[in-house]
Symmetry: C2
Subunit: 106 residues, 2 copies
């Protein structure tokens, strides 16, 4: 995802997921790509931005807290969340935010 | 910054700065390091997380909207903002958010 998300005017919501990985892929790359694809199909999905160089940061944008809660409960996503905790991540933080103001250039 | 920020219990604020760079360094690396150092000295600063692989994402955390506004007006930061617009970034988005909930592992 090397693009800046084209989000609507605020207010909307952001989920900031910051992580440190354990060594080895162990299926992470495939699942991460699938989760990005699946998230984009969910009601209320507005966009996603992702970068990793040691620290990984993925920010997904959503129309409402309900949309975030529904994505969190998605069955395939629940399986990925479990593998994330047990296999892929040594540490993570997930922050749910309300985007109040936004500026873009150009 | 390859560490997850140790932020307090919500609520607090996040500034999500997402950017695409123009080719060449042109003093960017030095200024980026200086801005991270200077931000950390500001009242209300809570932490910063940063990653770039093509897309760059920097999330800084703050105690209040007033702290964010004061940092935005910092003289040295204003100079860097101007160079960012004219030299370093081809595109960026800046989103000011209220962090409502947070989870961490471990």
């Amino acid at each position: 995802m090397t693009a800046i998300a084209a989000t609507p005017e605020p207010p909307y919501y952001a989920v900031i997921f910051t992580s440190l990985r354990n060594p080895g892929d162990n299926g992470y790359g495939e699942t991460a790509a699938r989760m990005a694809e699946l998230a984009a199909q969910q009601p209320g999905f507005l966009g996603i931005e992702s970068a990793r160089d040691g620290l990984g940061i993925t920010v997904s944008y959503w129309a409402s807290l309900e949309a975030i809660a529904a994505w969190k409960r998605n069955t395939e996503h629940l399986v990925a969340q479990r593998r994330g905790r047990s296999e892929w991540y040594s540490e993570f933080a997930l922050r749910v935010c309300k985007v109040e103001r936004a500026y873009t250039m150009p």
